[in-house]
């Protein structure tokens, strides 16, 4: 085809990195899933036929929120360190991200433990229980998946197996983590601010 006597120049197009595009697509799909759960939550606010109600049992998880949201900051710092190939800093900030995420999960676990044992609210108690545990649980599930992936990267990094060309992949993973944090902002607003 290169022998064609056509003067049209081949347009040099810059193609985006496939991992990034795929992650944005996945995030779109996940957003659609969360939207359905959030819509269900909002629609069912105040529709429970029996107690306990959110106002009676839910406390604002302020610290938990601070921990999770600041993990977005630490992962960004880790990414910057990685671009500079400052692996010590990278390990530090990446580890801090995992720690913050883990603290968040422990916070959720403590909250659930209290709800189940003290307030006797389970997923089958009433509509509030059903929507609350599924929405917060779905988000926690995403945190768990994120933590597993983050930990895998940390192990690779400690084994000095991270090559410079892996940077792009790690940025894709960070994108996912930012998404999980964004979802928490929505969940926090809906469950603990509007729904209470």
């Amino acid at each position: 085809m290169s022998t064609l006597p056509i003067s049209v120049p081949v347009t040099e197009t810059h193609l985006p990195y496939k991992g990034r595009v795929a992650m944005f697509t996945l995030i779109a799909a996940e957003s659609a899933i969360f939207t359905i759960f959030v819509v269900a939550y909002i629609y069912y606010i105040g529709q429970s036929l029996s107690g306990p109600t959110p106002r009676e049992v839910l406390d604002l998880p302020i610290f938990n929120t601070i921990f999770l949201l600041s993990s977005s900051l630490t992962i960004m710092l880790a990414e910057r360190a990685l671009v500079r190939r400052a692996m010590g800093n990278f390990n530090l900030f990446w580890g801090l991200t995992i720690l913050l995420g883990a603290i968040f999960l422990v916070g959720t676990a403590r909250e659930w433990y209290k709800l189940i044992t003290v307030d006797h609210l389970t997923i089958s108690t009433n509509l509030f229980g059903t929507t609350y545990y599924s929405l917060v649980g779905l988000h926690a599930l995403h945190v768990i998946v994120g933590l597993i992936l983050l930990t895998a990267v940390l192990i690779f990094s400690l084994m000095k197996a991270l090559r410079p060309e892996d940077t792009k992949r790690i940025e894709v993973l960070a994108l996912y983590w930012h998404f999980v944090d964004c979802v928490w902002v929505v969940v926090f607003t809906v469950v603990y601010v509007i729904g209470r």
């Binding site: 056509i6 347009t11 985006p16 969360f34 359905i36």
Partner: protein
């Protein structure tokens, strides 16, 4: 098969040793192993297509049984219970395990070839998606055996393909039939989403030199639009199925009306998926039409940018029309008006597409080969399907005909008359590329005429009992209703279509061995897949292609008159 599997350099001795195994069993095991572990987009595409064809036969047998039961009033071919299970399985099978995967199969095979690249963006994700879809179907069909075994229809789901709550709640649907249904759709949903991610990423990140977005073949564009809809529509379904399973297994109350839950909620969630799903299926059909019609009219597609814009706007509008499936639940007047209007708006970009295809035909040197015959039938039938769609979008009209056979006739006009027609066109058009041999022309024409006649006998007539008030999903009816003759004609039509499909499958098998050798470019076409050998090598292209226009092969054949 072994010739097309490229061993990795490091395992050459191993591969060579495998090649020397002469025993037949060893060969079969090797071929099987090759196909099960493959990550090649062409093989996965073929797997998708074979899988969908198998499911087409299963769904077809189900509908033939249903049609036998409905052929006359008060027949006793099936019990009411088995009837419920069969129409649920028919709908679920045809939508999720025939129509969706067959286009994913076509796209798997064709998108990388059309873009001039080696493979799809994520080959392993691709294999994962296929096996998820496949296991979803197996899980659904295992329900025939699960529980009570093969007596009757086992514990196949019996709640209709839209599975309205609260019928699906634990209290009303005992046993595991609904669980099989929900789990099967979650699994295949993961498969669809994985596939969609792959197509979008491939189109945006993997294109050969010179292949700008507006030089991509329209089939690729329409697969991208379809994939975006999968992302936005199948995900809500997955979420709704998860809620259903939470209700059924953990005692949740999402759709439990006894505890304040809302059955309407399920309808909204289902149709937020359900309506865009129609466009998920029709977009690839549009794509095939946009490839076949220009080639057999010997003209470039009319209004390429308008086609792309129209597809994107159809997709956009289709996300806001879902409640036209629910006019009878008693929405506000404003709600009814909104969904009626938004539904009618779909007609505008769809009209643009129809006129573009007509303008492509206009003044062209039309060759009436089998793919073109199917495409012309598609144009005609899709128009009628669209018109009954506009009728149904008028809320008061819809109140009269809601859940009647008029609706059944309407959406079968879309799915069989438009989508399946283009699947057949795609088979006749690309079979030579996939196998290296042409499908038999005489059998093809026989298939076409029998199928079109059968289609019209079935679905033209089916509108009438609907208008006379025959509701869908009933297993029998009284003699004095006067629906008997019409239903008998519909049943005859269904069997004519079945014969046509048998001829088609026969053609697929016979032509594999006896078909005319096709050569790389049997239709004198213009897109990149026709530049490579038929069937293509494992590595697709000998050298990475460079393109200068939307019709690279035209440029090559007519250097004095480039596109």
């Amino acid at each position: 098969m072994s010739e097309s599997s490229m061993p990795l350099p490091g395992r050459l001795p191993e591969a060579a040793a495998q090649g020397t195994r002469a025993d037949a069993l060893g060969n079969i095991v090797e071929i099987l192993h090759d196909w099960v572990t493959t990550v090649d987009h062409k093989k996965i595409g073929i797997l998708y297509i074979l899988y969908s064809l198998t499911m087409l036969v299963a769904g077809g047998i189900e509908i033939l049984l249903i049609r036998l039961q409905l052929a006359g009033p008060r027949l006793n071919v099936l019990s009411g219970e088995v009837f419920n299970r069969l129409f649920t399985m028919h709908g679920t099978t045809m939508i999720f395990f025939v129509a969706m995967p067959i286009f994913v199969g076509f796209a798997n095979y064709l998108v990388p070839l059309m873009l001039g690249v080696r493979d799809i963006a994520f080959p392993r994700l691709n294999a994962f998606s296929f096996w998820m879809t496949a296991f979803g179907g197996l899980l659904l069909y295992y329900s025939f055996l699960g529980g009570t075994g093969l007596q009757g229809a086992g514990t196949a789901p019996d709640v209709g393909w839209f599975a309205y709550a609260p019928l699906t709640e634990r209290a009303f649907s005992r046993g595991h039939s609904t669980d099989f249904w929900a789990l099967a759709l979650i699994l295949s949903g993961f498969g669809s989403i994985g596939g969609a991610i792959n197509f979008i990423t491939t189109a945006f990140c993997l294109r050969c030199k010179g292949m700008t977005l507006f030089r991509m073949p329209l089939f690729v564009w329409l697969m991208v639009v379809s994939s975006v809809l999968v992302i936005l529509a199948v995900s809500p379904l997955t979420a709704a199925q998860a809620m259903l399973l939470i209700d059924r297994y953990l005692g949740g109350h999402f759709f439990d009306t006894q505890a304040g839950g809302s059955a309407t909620m399920w309808m909204h969630f289902f149709w937020i998926f359900g309506h865009p799903e129609v466009y998920v299926l029709i977009m690839p059909a549009f794509g095939i039409a946009s490839e076949v019609i220009p080639v057999f009219s010997r003209k470039a597609i009319f209004g390429y940018p308008a086609m792309v814009a129209a597809s994107v706007s159809i997709a956009f509008v289709s996300l806001s029309v879902w409640a036209h499936h629910m006019f009878t639940i008693g929405m506000s007047a404003a709600g009814n008006a909104f969904f009626a209007l938004s539904t009618m708006i779909v007609g505008i970009p769809t009209g643009i597409k129809i006129f573009n295809w007509l303008a492509t035909l206009w003044g062209g040197k039309i060759r009436f080969e089998v793919p073109m015959l199917f495409s012309l039938a598609f144009l005609f039938q899709f128009l009628i399907a669209g018109l009954t769609g506009i009728m149904l979008s008028v809320a008061p009209f819809n109140w009269q005909l809601h859940n009647s056979y008029f609706v059944v006739a309407h959406f079968h006009y879309v799915i069989v008359g438009a989508i399946l027609m283009m699947v057949f066109a795609g088979f006749y058009y690309w079979y030579p590329k996939v196998t290296g041999r042409m499908l038999d022309d005489r059998l093809g024409k026989l298939h076409f005429w029998l199928f079109v006649i059968g289609f019209h006998v079935t679905f033209d007539v089916m509108h009438i009992p609907g208008i006379l008030g025959m509701p869908r999903q009933i297993y029998t009816y009284e003699v004095d209703r006067g629906w008997g003759t019409l239903n008998f004609i519909v049943t005859i039509g269904a069997f004519i279509q079945a014969i046509a499909i048998i001829i088609f499958v026969l053609n697929l098998v016979v032509s594999l061995f006896k078909g005319k050798i096709a050569g790389p470019d049997p239709w004198d076409a213009w897109t990149l897949e026709w530049t490579t050998a038929s069937p293509p090598h494992a590595y697709n292209f000998d050298a990475e292609p460079v393109v200068y226009s939307a019709r690279p092969l035209w440029d090559l054949k007519h250097p004095d008159d480039p596109d």
